[in-house]
């Protein structure tokens, strides 16, 4: 047994009082969880402390809170670890972020998390008559979506999301990971519509700021940001969806410029992005021209500061071995299937050089990121 102090953020809308922090001392075995500490407070000191919890085993996803500023499941966080990372001795426990607080540690999941989940049509949309028995798909085609299926809807990623912090309308990591669960499912018949919808929404897949916050906090290894990147990959690579948010243009411009020069020709990145990847279109399409004009003040600032010279803006040297870079691009981009090493399946354990020649290593080779097989869904029996 050891003594710990919990500094808990209290708030009761019915009291009319502002939120405040209250310290509680608890005695717990160091192996016990922060949730055990919170429940001890509720049982022994203040029965009015509000916390939502159920399984206590990181399965139900109910007890999401912030511990020392990090979004976690309280049941999945050891009290001694939390005390070790505490700043001033006390373990700070607060409700999750990006969602309104109902009382103490309970946030309104309906108002944010579940509303966003609903937004992505979180159910399968197959076409045609349902099969007589179950839908049958090749096992390998489901590997890609198993990671997003591991989500327990705890909301930790929503709480930590840095895009949502400045744009509450962002569809967000949990819902977009859920969207990928159906986009990646070969039985779904509306893959393209789903992708188009999420690519064209200004708060959709291109509103993710790529900050890894959701990956860092997810207690189930769902890596929501990686699922968002998969959505982008399918939208641009498989369906050529030229969205109004410049998502397609930005990716195409970046990849094309590195293929051409080996390093990034920054001065061309912005105009090409506005022109769906094309420099010519950036100067002829009204939508692109409008965006270019809007970015002129920033360009002028860059020139005035001496960061950028007109010469540098116009001329970008190719790498000495640029033909090698281009060869690599050609060899990989000309393949029918994209190869993806699925770390969720492979794991992070190193396979040493001695183990690479056996069948086991061969089997753990990356999964081909299959093109969606529409029309074949559901009836491969």
């Amino acid at each position: 047994m050891a003594d710990y102090t919990l500094k808990i953020r209290r708030y009761d809308p019915e009291s009319g009082q502002a939120a405040y922090y209250e310290d509680f001392d608890v005695a717990l075995d160091p192996e016990r969880s922060v949730l055990d500490g919170i429940l001890q407070v509720r049982d022994d000191e203040d029965g009015s402390l509000a916390i939502r919890c159920s399984c206590r085993a990181a399965i139900c996803g109910s007890c999401g809170v912030k511990v020392n500023g990090t979004s976690v499941l309280a049941c999945n966080t050891r009290i001694s670890d939390a005390a070790a990372s505490a700043r001033n001795g006390a373990v700070v426990v607060e409700p999750m972020g990006n969602m309104p607080v109902l009382k103490d540690l309970i946030v309104d999941m309906d108002a944010v998390h579940w509303k966003k989940i609903q937004r992505v049509i979180p159910w399968l949309l197959p076409e045609g008559d349902p099969p007589e028995r179950e839908y049958i798909v090749p096992a390998e085609s489901m590997i890609d979506v198993t990671q997003s299926m591991a989500c327990i809807q705890c909301g930790a990623c929503v709480s930590a999301c840095l895009s949502m912090e400045v744009d509450p309308e962002f569809i967000g990591p949990a819902a977009l990971a859920k969207a990928y669960r159906f986009v990646g499912d070969p039985r779904d018949a509306h893959t393209e519509e789903r992708l188009r919808d999420l690519a064209e929404d200004p708060h959709g897949i291109y509103d993710c700021t790529h900050c890894f916050a959701c990956i860092e906090v997810c207690p189930k290894g769902v890596d929501p940001m990686n699922q968002i990147m998969r959505l982008r990959r399918h939208a641009t690579g498989d369906y050529d969806i030229k969205d109004e948010n410049n998502g397609y243009g930005h990716e195409k411009a970046f990849v094309d410029l590195v293929e051409k020069y080996g390093t990034l020709h920054e001065a061309q990145l912005l105009p090409r992005s506005y022109g769906q990847g094309s420099l010519l279109r950036s100067q002829t399409e009204p939508r692109a021209i409008r965006q270019l004009v809007q970015s002129l003040p920033t360009v002028v600032n860059g020139l005035k500061s001496g960061k950028v010279s007109p010469k540098k803006a116009l001329i970008h040297h190719k790498l000495p071995d640029q033909d090698q870079v281009r060869r690599i691009f050609h060899a990989i981009e000309s393949k029918d299937e994209r190869l993806e090493l699925n770390m969720y399946i492979v794991g992070e354990g190193d396979v040493g050089p001695d183990e690479t020649d056996g069948e086991v290593a061969e089997e753990s080779r990356g999964q081909a990121d299959k093109q969606p097989a529409q029309g074949e869904t559901g009836d491969e029996r």
Binding site: L162, E165, V166, D167, F170, Y206, D207, T209, H210, C211, F212, A213, E216, M229, R233, N245, N246, H250, E251, F254, V255, V258, G262, T263, L264, E266, L269, S273, P297, T298, N301, G302, K304, S305, G306, K307, V308, L319, P320, D321, Q324, V325, R327, I328, F329, I332, E333, L339, E340, L341, G347, E348, D350, V351, P353, A361, E362, S364, R365, G366
Partner: protein, 300 residues
């Protein structure tokens, strides 16, 4: 100490003052940089979003070139984004021998191979400075302690998350190195909400409002915490926090006007280098106040 040096695209593009200041600072710390001038872009997360095999091959190529530099302890970068993008590829290459072999086949025609020996590393200058050069040595080289300068650290997402990929098991303090270095050169680290958050740069082209609200908010928080300037080891963060700062001010509806230093620039000031040599005139938000403070220190 000798390292293979990958400066990245942006340090030689829109933030040339970063590349220049690193070149000035390195000899002052007995650091020999062998620049990888045939290496390619790291992909900055965008090529990874496009095709994983492609980005893994491109970075394996860079790693292989770095491993071929005779006598180098490892590879150094000066960009948080390069660090994160390359660490992501290295994680996959190291995780699976047959995958690594497959990627290496793409490098065969060029006579290159990425070897996984477990000891080879790729480190941002910030990590290298603390872990390999050491703060004691840095302190011993300081010619102009930056007493009284209040510096707000801004790390860049790619060197703080995901911790499982970025060596935090071995080096759990990596998200506190900037404060340690700021302290070691006599300046005062400023605590504020944004230091580990996102500058917004990755979505500046796709979601400008989301992007610049982030940049603006962090800059405002640093100002409210009474900082004289920010410092960042990431040139992409620098672009959003400095080049875009006038625009960011509109999105947060307040005046900003706080200079943002590149990490090697700050080190250079403490090592006695002239602000002009460090390219401090090549900023959108003028660094005059910081320069004046430093000049007063030199006179004192």
């Amino acid at each position: 100490m000798k390292v293979a040096y990958w400066p990245g695209c942006v340090s030689r593009g829109f933030t040339p003052e970063l590349h220049g200041s690193m070149a000035k600072v390195a000899p002052k710390l007995d650091l020999e940089l062998v620049e990888l001038d045939r290496a390619n872009c790291c992909g900055a997360g965008v090529i990874a979003e496009h095709n994983q095999e492609l980005v893994d091959t491109l970075n394996a190529r860079t790693f292989a070139m770095a491993q071929g530099v005779d006598g180098a302890m490892g590879m150094m970068n000066i960009c948080s984004t390069c660090q994160g993008a390359q660490s992501e590829c290295q994680e996959r290459l190291d995780a699976d021998g047959s995958y690594r072999e497959h990627i290496n086949e793409h490098l065969d025609p060029e006579g290159l191979q990425y070897e996984h020996d477990g000891a080879w590393w790729n480190k941002n200058f910030l990590w290298l400075l603390v872990e390999d050069i050491g703060l004691d040595k840095l302190r011993s080289r300081v010619e102009r302690p930056l007493h009284g300068l209040r510096v707000a650290p801004f790390y860049g997402c790619y060197v703080v998350r995901p911790t499982r990929r970025l060596g935090y098991d071995l080096y759990p303090e990596r998200d506190r190195y900037l404060e340690a270095v700021i302290g070691a050169i006599g300046a005062e680290p400023v605590d504020y909400a944004g230091k580990h958050k996102c500058c917004g740069f990755p979505v500046i082209t796709m979601a400008k409002e989301t992007s610049l609200r982030q940049a603006g908010r962090h800059l405002a928080d640093a100002i409210d915490a009474d900082a004289d300037c920010l410092v960042t080891p990431c040139p992409l963060c620098h672009l959003n926090l400095d080049l875009q700062q006038p625009d960011a001010a509109k999105y947060v509806e307040r005046d900003l006007d706080i200079p943002v230093l590149h990490f090697p620039q700050m080190i250079g000031l403490a090592l006695g280098l002239d602000p002009k040599e460090l390219g401090m005139d090549k900023h959108v938000v003028k660094t005059a106040d910081v320069q004046r403070k430093v000049a007063e220190l030199a006179a004192a």
